[in-house]
């Protein structure tokens, strides 16, 4: 027996986010202002971003004296394709524009490019490196 009933999502919950694949692809990824980037000689990009800890973990780290500038930031080195994609994130291009670009540049099948691109953006979003802006015409900014 469940102790608490799971709340059923109302229609309003969904009205704010994309409801179909084409709508999701119209969202525009935006870089986080807290991310600093460094370009290597190879052309690859290294991103440095702040590590977000849960409050209880943060207080524990402080008590144990583990809190320092170094432990509060992380680095992520992107490969060539990732670096190229990162350089295209200007807040104006939608996800489908990025997919089109990658399709043309690497002669990829559209579906493959879409899966690779959405997976990459999802990963960046989970780390808090990007947010998503709703397509023009829709209000508000959606972050991952």
């Amino acid at each position: 027996m469940r102790w608490f009933k799971r709340r059923k999502p109302s229609k309003d919950d969904f009205s704010k986010g994309p409801s179909s694949r084409s709508e999701s692809l119209a969202y525009r990824p935006v870089k986080s202002l807290e991310v600093s980037e460094e370009k290597l000689d190879s052309g690859e990009v290294v991103l440095t971003y702040p590590l977000t800890l849960r409050p209880w973990l943060l207080s524990l780290a402080t008590r144990l004296g583990l809190r320092s500038e170094e432990t509060r930031s992380r680095k992520l080195q992107l490969d060539e394709m990732g670096s190229l994609t990162w350089s295209l994130l200007d807040g104006k291009r939608a996800v489908h524009d990025l997919v089109d670009f990658v399709c043309r540049r690497y002669k990829l099948n559209r579906r493959e490019a879409e899966v690779a691109m959405t997976g990459f953006l999802r990963d960046l979003g989970k780390r808090g490196l990007i947010g998503f802006r709703a397509p023009a015409g829709e209000e508000g900014e959606k972050s991952t």
């Binding site: 179909s20 694949r21 060539e80 690497y106 990829l108 559209r110 579906r111 493959e112």
Partner: protein, 302 residues
Amino acid sequence: MDSGKSELWKTVAWNGLSLRVPPQWEVSSLATSYLRLDDEVGPVLELKWQQIRGLFSFKTHLEKLSRLSTSTPGVDFQEIPLPHDWQQALRNFEVQSFVWQSTEVSGKGAILYCSECQKAILLQFYQKQRRGDSRIPLGILHSFRDHSEDGMVHWALFGLRALIPQRFTLVRHRFHPGHYQLEFQHQKEHLHLNRWGPADLVLKDGDLLAWFHKRCGELNWCHAANMREYNYDGKPALQGQSQGSIAAASRLWARMTRKLPYIWVRIWHLASRNHILGVAAGGLKPLNEQMLEEVCSNYEMV
């Protein structure tokens, strides 16, 4: 929905089934005997099939579908006589058609049974209120095939095309960005089709041979093949093979250790499509090289 000209439609062929669909339709979900295609908005076509041993009962399967729909609130399921325009397209099958309706989406489909290959297929088209072009389902049904006539099975998906002898069955597949792999097996004979890409990224640190030595772990037993540079149809390629001993003891040892004594591998760089294609075969008995040449010549990216 704009279906475009049917000449622009593309072929989707998977595990014995083949059909032509509008160019904007993409496979969104895939299993050994299951296909779902989506357009820009959502699901549009779903196919599920099964090899039948013994007698096939439409009644049982329709009852299952009906039960499934009644357990889902708001779905109304109904058997209907086969639509007149579908009759000609599905003349080679025994057919029972149905429709279902929920608040937002409706479906129209059929259970097909092919007495020639004993395959039962559940096929359904999803329709939203505003999408009702009946020519698309009809065009798809006219192109629908559930078995091959010449003993070669056609595979066409995500730009990959191949023709594989019918005796091979699909045992594993993966379509990861950068690496596609189809693994077939017939008794102790294995056949793998691979596709890596984008080639300009994959080969940026060296040539095909250097890359192969770095990545051959992915090809499992292929490291045993003695790979050499080769020119395949004007394309840079690698080819290698290993031949086991014909002694009965060696064959028994290979069987016990699950090592394949006969291995044949060919990998070529398809610069025009920016991909690397690979065919690998292994077995306990000598391999049919003519068949492998045929597989390679029909394996392409479009």
